[in-house]
Symmetry: C2
Subunit: 741 residues, 2 copies
């Protein structure tokens, strides 16, 4: 009975106890239950996902991508280009390894082509019009693909058609100073100039020439600049990576980027197109590129004084300036160079291929990764090495996505841009059409165009905000064939001493418009990066890989000479892919505003050294600029402290969003759409293109140099104005970094 | 014992039960506990707070604010202005009713003043230079405050100094068409024109005149336009609200807003200032305003033909055009009008007073409420009626804040702008200095300048996005002295038929630059509103309240004739304050993008009617514009559905933030900084100022009209270009409203 009573009592107690527990647990509200979205909103980048992603990026897949992409020449808007559009769409719509969605977007853009039935001709004709010499119309074929009828004749896109004849002069790189030097002893009017690539923009060689009355410009690639001096067929491709004697660099001869008829407007069917005559920045006189084999014949028979020592190249003779024209002992004596250029401009439909992965937590934040798709010929390196890498990144991410293993926090947009070679057209039209949406929401743009120039080292140019994520990513990837990291390898080739970090890899600035990052960095003000594998500069002096823009930039060339094991491609895929996933998945954006402050301080210091006294002499003070940079540093430090003192995973997601907005919009804060009215698309007052050699704020540097050269009051006024513009931009950016209210 | 056992058992059971409850509640984890910030993040506007806030807005407080603000004349940068700065700071820093923080921000701005020791003179002199008549230099004083030595002489700010003499002509309103008509029969070269206010901008009267060789311009206010025809002292102030015969409207004679020497740059001490000669939009010849008493003498003695019937006013004579000059029977015959203008331009420090309330949940979102502080004289109506309202709003909100009863979700910024009368300078400099920060974060701008023109009805102009919140707020406030709502009263005076809502109050568009909303609406692209109480237009024809910009705009005038009980002030405070709190506290921003679509459709329909055939005749199609408007409508509908189908209080705060960003940035999406290169600050392609009388897209309308008048190819090109610009802007805005990815 005792036991029974105890048991009964125990039982009763247990029942009451249990009821109590149940009531306590269910009936007494602890507030409300924790919503599911909290976990998602606070989730940070998953390092194990990144490891798996990097491991899956495969050299063989990249190689096969490249093989497919380079089957035929795929110059913009040609059938070969259309085939790559279909290929990209097939891959990005693949049910097992594709993206959430992919589509094409077409623009009707203004392109320039040679006439297939009437090729451009460069010849030498004697006074009786007998042709004594004709330059090659096609490059010599060493492999069947180089013989493809779709290989476009070498030409200077946007050079006007025209038929010109004149005595030849040699004008070095076609810089203003080159023509000025020639002009001291020669009457250049009516002459034709032969110039070599390098030292000056393509179209500027002709624009400068026209100012001296020159009527036509030939451009060739000197073996000194591209082949480390080698000239013979036995030493060049297919025997090495060097350019064969008949190789010709094609290229777009324009200064502005984007469709030339529709600046700031997306080139739709019925968009307003300005008259052709209003286009600036293209050659006013015919221009044509030729190979060094032909250039040698022309240059080595020139009459006249010896060209200066810096003008000499590796052709087998002493370069002379020209009589003008050829020397008396030459068979070409008294003859003219004759250029028959039949380029025509046409409106053609060019496609961007777009692919997206929808973000799970912040779908309205975009990380954009892009490369162009169009090439000049087969374009194995330029751009297909980058496209092959992009496709491998999308394959692995697509697989993770389709298998339900991963979905990024933010949305990812992939862009396969059209018509880049003609002037970054596809990417520029895209940013024009979606300007507002992209301005509001884009976190970053990653550009991988030529992914592998060579096998030595990573090279990156970027907004300073992105330096830290580039470092983080490159530390996690091994350099090809080593156990050291890409970062440790990189620091050996490009480095600088940072006041804050000591010796670190030197990330370049994106000051130009060399690839599709231009519209993002300069026009949209999006934090951008350009990533590739690059040369050991101690091993070669080549301006660029020698097959650049020639018929030799083929799969064979790339896989034999540039990156046989595709391990450098893989290293780029891993580094850029790692950056991409970190940007997409990190709770806090991996941008560093104090690194930006350091860059501004570098620029300020350069500006003070170069300009402070000169400006002071005109009564213009740099104090406000100094204060603005100091304010930027202070507010950057403040934001860093706020970040350090926050536990964002535990606080309201609106706090992470707020700080992320400050970081995302930092580059945007430097935009001034009126700062450079003459330069299409350049709105970022820190990184806009610059003529001055002083590495500092471009508007200020160029304006001071102009004012110095003229010493006009109105030009010093412009210098003062640019000082105020950059000061206000930096102070304005600083205001975005401090306390939000 | 039974009782004891039962009690013991009960007690034991209770203890066990309680332990169970406690264990159940505390020891068994329900996941993690609900973070505190969830409640805050999901909290919506609190209607009971709004009710209390509205109830506390007090007529007497507004009246006392007005009395204090209007004690002395407070023209920009004068000691009186400085006193109002101190007053605002004292109020906003009040420990019991102040804001979180308040401070002043100074700009060094370019202002124009008459010379106190050498007043401007308008006289009539005979050929021997004998002065026959002199216009008043000061208005007649009816009350002591009008006699204050700080009352500035009536003048035309930015009129150049100069000494000119010529025969008088009457040029109606100084429109181009007015001068053209005169020019048909008269040689205007060397004449002086007298014009009346209205019909044309102040400075344009002089700019237009100069094109005809006219050397000076007088401007007066015709009693027809301001006094419903009344002219005698016995019928005007202080006997009524009408303008006394000696009253003169001062004003700024400029077209562009913002500091004229530093466009797009905040006017700091060492900011670059362009040369005075580069300023456009100000009179090239002397201008001076005078009273109708003096104007009557001049006009009624003119010789020449009768002026057209529409040119006649209420002065006691038939207006003639001028011989040029006076009629033979006049004492003034053969005499010249002589203008001695001694205006000088100076750089002066002008202060904005800023006050803030920090937001609790989204401090990085700003609702800005502003009015200027500077007046021409005592400025009781313009602008102090608005400032008195603003101070009452901040008093009540500050009290709720200091008492811990309320803190807004978003941050609120109050701006008391300086130097508005000279061209919206303080607000423009503010938007220039903080351009990036404000662009990124500003939800809305509410402008209440003259809060009460008259007692009849609410009047509002706004971005269409804000129509709905204006309606919501005005429905909750009673019209003064009635039990009907401000909304119901409003609809009687201003209404239109909306395809969607039927008859609703007509909210105007903010197409001009009439007050400080300009920099926010047009330059920043911030959804803006301008709110006031207004006339019954059936009762008066007055261009504006008659004491506008005169020495009679005093506390006595305002409290006797404009709003004796201050109930209209209170109605504006309640309506605008209600809008403010809703914008600051609502979980979902109370903006409606479908209302925007309706406005675009109105504009499109006007454009099609007026221009489609004319454009088609030139081969220019409007189809893309139609499609863009249609796309805007579709994406707006889509966003509305998303909002309707969401329960934002229960979902991740990032979703509300995402939708709010879409709504907040909608007006921003219409900005194009290159669309109107000649117009300072006008970047909003829908609401920019327009010359054409067709109420539609301004760039298109003006370009088509220009093209029609010249029929030049390049002008039709410009029309096509503006068509493309507005099409791209609308499509771009539509892209921001659809699915974010």
């Amino acid at each position: 009975m005792l036991i029974k009573e105890v048991l009964l009592g125990f039982l009763a107690g247990a029942v009451v106890f249990t009821i109590g527990i149940l009531l306590g647990h269910f009936a007494i509200d602890k507030g409300s239950s924790v919503p599911e979205w909290i976990r998602d909103a606070s989730r940070d980048v998953d390092e194990s996902i990144i490891e798996k992603f990097l491991a899956e990026l495969d050299t063989n897949e990249i190689k096969e991508n490249l093989r497919e992409l380079t089957k035929v020449p795929h110059m913009a808007t040609t059938p070969g280009d259309e085939a790559t559009v279909e290929f990209m769409l097939k891959r990005w719509n693949d049910p097992k390894t594709g993206l959430d969605n992919a589509w094409r977007e077409d623009y009707k853009v203004y392109l320039s082509f040679p006439d297939k039935t009437n090729p451009n001709k460069v010849s030498v004709v004697d006074p009786e019009n007998t042709v004594l010499f004709t330059a090659r119309e096609r490059e010599k074929a060493y492999t069947p693909d180089q013989d493809d009828p779709e290989v476009v004749q070498p030409y200077a896109a946007y050079s006007p058609a025209g038929n010109v004849k004149g005595k030849l002069v040699y004008a070095n790189q076609g810089k203003m100073s080159d023509y000025e030097l020639l002009n001291r002893t020669l009457d250049l009017r009516g002459t034709i100039a032969i110039t070599r690539y390098g030292g000056e923009g393509r179209s500027k060689k002709a624009i400068n020439a026209a100012k001296f009355g020159i009527v036509g410009v030939l451009v060739y690639t000197d073996p000194y600049d591209i082949n480390d001096g080698l000239v013979s067929e036995s030493e060049t491709y297919p025997h090495s990576w060097y350019l064969p004697p008949s190789g010709v660099e094609r290229g777009s001869y324009n200064i502005d980027f984007g469709d030339l008829l529709t600046p700031y407007l997306a080139a739709k069917d019925d968009t307003y197109r300005r008259p052709k005559e209003d286009i600036t920045g293209i050659p006013p006189i015919p221009a044509q590129p030729i190979g060094f084999e032909d250039a040698e014949r022309l240059i080595c028979e020139l009459d006249g004084d010896d060209a200066p020592i810096e003008w000499q190249g590796s052709l087998k003779c002493t370069y002379k300036l020209g009589g003008p024209g050829f020397k008396p002992t030459s068979l070409l004596n008294n003859s003219n160079v004759h250029m028959d250029i039949y380029n025509t401009e046409r409106l053609e439909n060019s496609a961007n291929v777009m692919g997206i992965i929808r973000g799970s937590v912040e779908p309205d934040r975009y990380v954009i990764y892009g490369n162009h798709r169009d090439s000049w010929v087969h374009g194995a390196i330029d751009p297909s090495s980058g496209t092959a890498v992009m496709l491998e990144i999308t394959r692995v991410l697509g697989k993770m996505l389709k298998e339900g293993r991963w979905r990024p926090r933010r949305s990812i947009i992939f862009g396969s841009w059209g018509a880049e070679e003609f002037g970054l057209i596809g990417s520029a039209e895209y940013t024009e059409e979606y300007f507002s949406k992209l301005s509001e929401r884009t976190v970053a743009y990653i550009n991988v165009d030529i992914s592998v120039f060579a096998n030595a080292t990573l090279r990156a140019s970027a907004s300073p905000a992105a330096q830290s994520v580039l470092f983080t990513a490159s530390k996690q990837v091994n350099a090809p064939g080593t156990t050291t990291s890409v970062y440790e390898n990189w620091i050996k080739y490009f480095n600088r001493t940072s006041p804050n970090y000591g010796v670190i890899p030197n990330v370049g600035f994106l000051t130009g418009a060399g690839s599709d990052y231009a519209a993002f960095m300069h026009y949209l003000g999006v934090t951008s990066m350009d990533i590739s594998y690059y040369y050991d500069r101690s091993k070669t002096r080549a301006r660029i890989y020698p097959a650049y823009h020639t018929a030799y930039d083929t799969f064979d060339y790339a896989s034999t000479f540039i990156d046989p094991g595709f391990t450098s491609h893989q290293a780029v895929a891993r580094t850029a892919g790692n950056v991409l996933v970190r940007l997409a998945d990190s709770l806090l954006l991996p941008f560093n505003c104090s690194d930006y402050a350091e860059s501004l301080e570098r620029y300020l210091s350069q500006a003070v050294t170069a300009f402070e006294q000169k400006l002071a002499d005109k009564g213009i003070s740099m104090e406000s600029l100094k204060k603005a940079v100091q304010l930027f540093r202070e507010t950057a430090t403040k934001l860093d402290s706020l970040i350090r003192d926050s536990d964002l995973a535990k606080e309201t997601p609106l706090k992470a969003r707020r700080i992320n907005d400050q970081l995302m919009l930092l580059d945007r804060a430097f935009l001034d759409p009126l700062a450079f009215p003459e330069l299409y698309g350049f709105r970022h007052v820190i990184w806009a293109s610059r003529s001055s050699s002083v590495p500092t704020f471009p508007g200020l540097a160029d304006a001071v140099e102009e004012a110095e050269s003229t010493d006009l009051k109105e030009d010093w006024d412009q210098a003062h104005k640019h000082l105020s513009i950059v000061t206000q931009a930096i102070a304005g950016a600083a205001h975005t970094l401090g306390d939000v209210i």
